[in-house]
């Protein structure tokens, strides 16, 4: 192994970004804390494109499904990666913590079982972790890595009721009337600045050259036109249809707070209902639902 | 007996389908159910005819037939049905339509014979009352 990809601590308590370590002596810099939320998976693409050596990678449950995503898309050579699986009890939401505690005083945050331990000044505060976890972790159904070479510790139990909350937001939006739905989404998308962060972080968005970056033909206008923004979001969601494995990074990373999971999960729900339950990222060898069919498939339109 | 458009479109057929979870239109009348039924001899409407009647909306006739009280739910018929129709479930739905009406009970504890009262296993009694009374 020429390097490992994991997380390290940066200056502030809420920063644990992804790091590439090539020097074994620096291994102590790797951390596992409530903020190691960033997905390391897409860094593998660059690594494998630029270097023939093996690389190690630490993955949470969600990240491991990203590994399967890349494997299924033939974008990864499995034998060139050593996957360290890290069962994950959920990651903390710095915003939620800041809302309850004076940010300045916090020095350290750790997760102990179901409790979050905060060092505020020289005090130690213990609170129930659930209220401070990221929303996406509360609906996580596969906290344990589904593909790995080594598992770092014992598997954790999936969160109760994650199944039921999975489509709750989708159902809420779907229950609105057509016009209300349009205005709801208009309000969401008008904040979008088309920074493409959602695409860039998404392991399912792994094309060498994204269609939105092409000039000939130009599929997406460059001007700040609401219709182009909608175009972007429709096509992005369509491209991950049947392939999105619900890591939720797109939504979490969005600087404008666009609830992209509500769109991704809508497609998942529709596909499951029409074409049978399918969960992306669990098996790298099967065929995603839009790449296959059955003669008796139902249709979402008039087939008469 | 007469088949009319009203009967064919009757809500009762839909109710039977809903309660039973079975599609009566799936039956193509091969009769394999009736041929294998161990208690068919005393039935007035044979199992395949139950489905035929239901397909054509002759539900009234079904609600008054003896067959409902003769079927033993042994499931021989559905285990051989080439169309995957669970006939005992259809008969059960019809039976429920009768039982749920006032005075619809078919069996009362006083009806039991002395022999049954003395010797019958609980399993039989519980089964009989669940089938024949509500």
């Amino acid at each position: 192994m020429a390097a490992v990809i994991g997380w390290r601590k940066k200056d502030f308590w809420w920063q644990s970004p992804v790091v590439f370590l090539e020097d074994p002596a620096a291994a102590h810099r790797l951390v596992w804390d409530p903020f190691t939320v960033y997905s390391p998976v897409k860094f593998l693409l660059e690594w494998q494109a630029s270097c023939a050596a093996k690389v190690g990678i630490f993955v949470k449950g969600c990240d491991s499904r990203g590994i399967n995503r890349l494997l299924q898309d033939k974008r990864l050579e499995r034998e060139r990666v050593v996957v360290y699986g890290v069962p994950c009890g959920g990651k903390a939401d710095a915003e939620k913590i800041r809302a309850s505690f004076p940010a300045k005083g916090i020095k350290d945050v750790t997760l102990l079982g179901e409790q979050l331990v905060l060092t505020v000044g020289d005090r130690e505060v213990r609170v129930a972790a659930e209220a401070y976890l990221l929303d996406k972790c509360l609906t996580c159904r596969h906290p344990n890595p589904v593909v790995y070479d080594k598992l770092l510790w014992e598997e954790v139990l999936p969160r109760q009721r994650a199944d039921e909350s999975r489509f709750a937001r989708v159902q809420a939006v779907a229950s609105l009337a057509t016009e209300e739905r349009f205005f709801y989404w208009q309000r969401q998308f008008e904040r979008c600045i088309r920074c493409f962060a959602c695409r860039n972080t998404c392991p399912a968005c792994n094309c060498r050259v994204c269609i939105f970056d092409q000039a000939e033909p130009r599929w997406l206008g460059k001007a700040n036109d609401p219709a182009d923004t909608l175009n972007y979001h429709i096509i992005r969601a369509f491209h991950v249809a049947g392939r999105c494995f619900e890591c939720g990074e797109c939504e979490r990373i969005c600087p404008a707070g666009v609830p992209l999971q509500e769109l991704n999960r809508k497609l998942i729900k529709d596909i499951n209902e029409a074409y049978g339950d399918y969960e992306a990222g669990l098996d790298a060898t099967d065929q995603p639902p839009l790449g296959t069919y059955r003669g008796e498939d139902p249709a979402g339109f008039d087939e008469s | 007996m007469k088949i009319t458009t009203d009967k064919v479109n009757s809500n009762l057929v839909r109710e039977v389908e809903e309660v039973s979870g079975q599609k009566v239109s799936a039956c193509f009348q091969c009769g394999k159910c009736s041929g294998g039924c161990p208690v068919v001899l005393t039935m007035d409407v044979l199992p395949h005819q139950v489905l035929r009647y239901a397909q054509l909306g002759l539900v009234d006739e079904l609600l008054h037939c003896k067959t409902l009280w003769i079927c033993a739910s042994c499931q021989t018929c559905d285990s051989r049905c080439p169309r995957n129709v669970d006939i005992p479930k259809v008969i059960e739905a019809l039976r429920l339509l009768v039982l749920r009406n006032k005075g619809g009970n078919y069996l009362h504890p006083n009806d039991l014979s002395e022999k049954v009262r003395r010797n019958a296993p609980q399993q039989g009694l519980v089964s009989a009352f669940r089938k024949f009374a509500k």
Binding site: - | P38, T42, A72, C74, S79, P88, E92, A120, Q122, A128
Partner: protein, 267 residues
């Protein structure tokens, strides 16, 4: 080998001999059966409609008890209970809608973790008929026994999945292991009339008659059964047919397979 054990109503009363011989033979074969706590009647019948939810509560509670007891498998004897439990368990495992509905009413969530087995199945798969044959102390050589399956052990086959529904062999192999001569007759899976004997006795009587005559003609000396209701029907109507003089030769004892097993193990 350890199992949770669900006896059911009939085995505590009319079919006490079934339970007694089952427990004694199990012990002799090294099977550890623990009766689950606080069980109720399983309902005797699996609900055949889409509207009944409450009928599932009793079997699911019993399955929860079995899970609480810590064993993977719940052993049953009465064919009626076996039918109800096996199908309920499968339905809970496979039908998410039903599972949600049931769990909404129960104290604890059950998702079908326990495996429901019949004692015969345990003898075949866990003990093994070859091993059983070795443990036989008193071979039943020369005994011509007619296995009678009835319906509940086998049907519906997609849910019960115990044996081939038309040509089952588990009873035959069991009896062969005990050294008995198995009587093959085409009525071994034909229904005995079940609960019709409570209300429509003539019908049950006719159904039983055909089974009796076929077994007798094929040389049977006794019936071996796994269901108290089958035993009742086969015995009662045999008496009647005999008394009425219609089938004067018929005097075939009906015994539970556990009684035969106890005999072979010399208990």
């Amino acid at each position: 080998m350890r199992y949770s054990y669900y006896p059911g109503c009939t085995l505590k009363t009319m079919a006490k001999i079934y339970e007694d011989t089952a427990l004694s033979t199990a012990k002799a074969l090294g099977l550890n059966l623990t009766e689950i706590k606080e069980w109720q009647c399983c309902g005797a019948l699996y609900p055949l409609n889409t509207e009944e939810i409450f009928s599932f509560f009793s079997p699911v509670r019993a399955l929860l008890q079995a899970r609480a007891g810590g064993e993977d498998k719940l052993l049953t004897l009465c064919a009626g209970c076996y039918n109800v439990f096996k199908r309920t368990n499968k339905a809970v495992r496979e039908d998410g809608e039903l599972r949600r509905k049931i769990n909404d009413y129960l104290e604890d969530d059950y998702i079908g973790e326990v495996e429901v087995v019949h004692y015969l199945e345990v003898l075949k798969n866990d003990v093994g008929f070859a091993f059983l044959a070795e443990r036989v102390k008193k071979k039943l050589t020369g005994r011509k026994l007619a296995p009678y399956y009835g319906c509940l052990l086998l049907k519906p086959w997609a849910e019960m999945d115990l044996d081939d529904v038309e040509n089952p062999t588990i009873f035959e192999n069991f009896l062969t292991a005990l050294g008995a001569t198995v009587v093959d007759y085409p009525y071994k899976t034909e229904c005995c009339g079940s609960y019709l004997s409570m209300a429509n006795e003539d019908i049950a009587s006719a159904a039983v008659g055909r089974i009796l005559v076929s077994a007798y003609k094929n040389g049977a000396e006794a019936f071996v059964v796994a269901c108290p209701l089958c035993k009742y029907n086969l015995e009662e109507y045999q008496k009647e047919l005999f008394a009425a003089g219609r089938e004067p030769q018929l005097k075939l004892p009906v015994v539970y397979f556990t009684e035969i097993l106890a005999e072979a193990l010399a208990l």
